[in-house]
Symmetry: C2
Subunit: 343 residues, 2 copies
Amino acid sequence: MLLGVRWVLRTQNYKCIVKCVLMQQQRQQQQQFYAHKHNFSMAQIIDGKAIAAEIRAELRKDVEAFKATGHREPHLTAILVGNDQASETYVRMKMNAAQDVGISSETRRLPATTSEHELLDIIDTLNKDESVDGILVQLPVPDHMNERKVCNAIVCEKDVDGFNVFNVGRMCLDMKSMIPATPLGVIELLKRAGIDTFGKNAVVVGRSKNVSMPIAMLMHADGRNETGAMDATVTICHRFTPPKELAKYCSMADIIITATGVPGLITKEMVKPGACVIDVGITRITDPNTGKTKLVGDVDFEEVRQVAGYITPVPGGVGPMTVAMLMHNTFTAAKNLAKINKS
Amino acid sequence: MLLGVRWVLRTQNYKCIVKCVLMQQQRQQQQQFYAHKHNFSMAQIIDGKAIAAEIRAELRKDVEAFKATGHREPHLTAILVGNDQASETYVRMKMNAAQDVGISSETRRLPATTSEHELLDIIDTLNKDESVDGILVQLPVPDHMNERKVCNAIVCEKDVDGFNVFNVGRMCLDMKSMIPATPLGVIELLKRAGIDTFGKNAVVVGRSKNVSMPIAMLMHADGRNETGAMDATVTICHRFTPPKELAKYCSMADIIITATGVPGLITKEMVKPGACVIDVGITRITDPNTGKTKLVGDVDFEEVRQVAGYITPVPGGVGPMTVAMLMHNTFTAAKNLAKINKS
């Protein structure tokens, strides 16, 4: 790095370079301070993109082996109601991932004016269709529909999002079930990054039913049961946790998992040196200087990485894991349905 | 009290009385210390027995009014498999409470050798029986039965224990459902004792699926949703929480709810002055001096009451609430079924 700086020195403004070198030295001193005090330097970045790619490669192999034993290609059907841009993007990413791992897929596009009854009829047809293994309805659905009714309409066996109340109940009872892809992705990230959770202090920031609640459940529950949960002591913080208390709980945590959609909520001062910080938040913000938009998480990444032991970036952290685990769920559904049809 | 001591003085051994008076003075000084330091004295005892009696009196009135509008008496059927003594006692208490509030009841006693299939058949018959509103199978069932299968066999509408996976899922999604009687009793105790939980720090010690998990869920979830939950920041501690960490979390808590069955687990040093301590634990122990058995909770009651602001005794705390809330659930089932049958 310093060599590079010296090279630049020959061609650039002197003052600017001195400032750059000084900043670099300051940063190195900072790192050395932590390295000295806590026996580590900058946080290790948990590369969700790389881990997700690893999972997808494994899945590709497994799907190949599944087909080699005479089974048809697993199939995922996504239903997209209306024209929400973010939903379009998410569904496209899922369909690409399906193709990548050898799962056939289809997107049913329905106009925003579709009635709830029509949607339920389509789900019913897909439930009965033996060529379909996984069904997902991209949320949110238009306001005139009851989201809960829609989620419950998908039969448990094909409910690859794990939002059916029956799957939720099974998960909360530590029983085998379809676990929502994002919480499953967080757990898989922790496992593959080798983060010890047994008897450790974890904080889950947020209490949403599709993301935070399942994370809290999987983090605290008994690893000896069917969900193979993480046995951590878990504190659930949420919008009504006073900021001072949130900071206190976070500073005690070995693992912080945040899923609030509040950019910059988790700051350096709140993080215990060496802690593992998993950022599930994802918010699109506009840079006031450039006017360009970018995705950010709940964590002040640049600051927190100086203290944490492990950290996930946004984007490239939990996001790719969600897509990979959805494929995992679809393949699980295909295997289960193949077993049911055989018996 | 001192008057009484003086009266005893005339009739009893002098030395003993002096000791008694000194102890009393010491205790008063201790109380004054806390009264001075924390602006309160001994913990206020939350009288579960009295609150349960209040709830039962209200229920009695409501059931009377329900019958006065032409409905038949609500009916609860309990199934008791085998001869477990504790189970016998629990079922008897429930049946007495039913009679007390005007709910008719019946106990089906089945031999321990009953097959799972036979039990499921009986449940199926009760599910279809329009004269039955609530069904409960006293747990534990004999080892040759699958407890989960038995719990799921009771239709949700009559599942007054709230153990059916569908009811569990609904509860975890903050939807109206049958909530297990003990967790519901704990929440009702807090509400009736006027304990503020909004944004407060709560610790739930234990992670059992029938008691602690629902308590953690109801304590942290959103009060604006259908379960009317308590909006506290909740830490879930369990057998793998190191003792030092348990003590740390408890000492930060405004509310401690413990349900472990480990007598004396919660000591004075762990409790923040003024905190509310709810003891769900209940263990029968033998007094090594007298050889007699007695019921104790998880909390070192005599010590903790000197620090806490509110405390429940064992027995006479959560126990009577469980029975009262089971009656509440049975009456709710009767009202719901009456509505369904009418429509």
